[in-house]
Symmetry: C2
Subunit: 214 residues, 2 copies
């Protein structure tokens, strides 16, 4: 393009570039921004070439969402499962989910629910990644309960509540409802009450009511 010469790339390399462009587009402008033209512009290439690599946009939207979601789950899992103690794991999980750097991913999730109505593979990918998230939380909660650290609520239900709060606040963020602090506090305090723990990171007390008033 720049020198008037057509760059001809290794197919695998080009395919990867297109998928990366789709991710970038999704994270910066939403899943709905994934289109042949936007991808083409982003890659400095014509639209038919994109169609050559990705013959179905709905499928690309779905696979792009899956890639973003699964990558985040993998990263957060690694971070959350690093500590040995279940309470520390839960704290790591919550703080990772509250990280403002995650905002873009939250927006993509909201897009996925809305678009999932008309895009079956996308809906399926959403369900699958939701199951992955729940599995992570359930594991942590169960471990903590076995260690006597968490209240004896059904882990499945606690996980559902946790992500319902996280997901709802992600949607709220898109329309600037309430402050980030209010949204984060909603998640944290509800979970604290439900599991009877303190999730403040610099607070070792397992039971807030017995912590010293130094």
């Amino acid at each position: 393009m720049a020198a008037g010469t057509t760059r001809r790339r290794n197919p695998a390399e080009r395919a990867l570039e297109v998928r990366e462009a789709a991710k970038t587009l999704a994270l910066t402008r939403g899943l709905a921004a994934i289109s042949l033209r936007n991808l083409a512009t982003h890659c400095g290439v014509t639209a038919p070439l994109i169609a050559h690599y990705e013959p179905n946009m709905d499928a690309l939207v779905a696979s792009t969402f899956a890639a973003i979601a699964e990558q985040e789950i993998a990263e957060v899992s690694l971070h959350a499962l690093a500590p040995d103690d279940a309470l520390d794991q839960l704290r790591a999980l919550i703080s990772a989910l509250a990280d403002p750097a995650r905002d873009n991913v939250g927006e993509v999730w909201c897009d996925a629910w809305s678009l999932g109505r008309k895009n079956d593979p996308l809906a399926e990918a959403a369900r699958h990644s939701m199951d992955s998230w729940h599995a992570l939380a359930i594991g942590i909660i169960r471990t903590g309960q076995n260690a006597g650290q968490f209240a004896a609520i059904a882990p499945e239900r606690a996980a559902l509540v946790l992500f319902a709060l996280v997901d709802a606040t992600a949607s709220y963020q898109l329309v600037n409802f309430r402050s980030r602090e209010t949204r984060d506090t909603l998640v944290r305090e509800t979970l604290e009450d439900m599991l009877d723990v303190s999730l403040r990171i610099n607070d070792d007390a397992r039971n807030p009511s017995t912590k010293p008033t130094v």
Copy 2:
């Protein structure tokens, strides 16, 4: 059209028809389906006429959402505030929110969060209606607490949790995540735990642990 003659309507009447068409379109095919051509087809009229009455589609999307949301809030408020007892009010509220007839409205809400990112008036309308919902719930919760029926959680927080659960499950429904029963149970049981009440409609016990085992 039918007889080859152009029907010329009273402007107020036509404007109303367009607004009604927008509501119908939103509830059946989502907020994103509101377009000049879809509206024109629905009204049996040409697109420029729609533009004549609604010169700005983003604004129409926002006002249509506001109309749907506010109408529902008004109806549910009436239903929920009918009983004298706060517990019965809460039960009425929850059962109204769980009504499958409300599914379409839930989808519209999810659309609103997703589209609200690029449509400021829509985001504003969403925030406003969210505040209305919270006000309704806070009133009921506060009344119940004053009567000693509900646990002493901050009403604002309880309301946030309630609607976070309702909103998240509405999103989940769009991608068929879990069963309706699981989603409804999630809302109900979490609220029961949080306020220490029983929300099953044919159950008068205020404290489940003391109810007779007839």
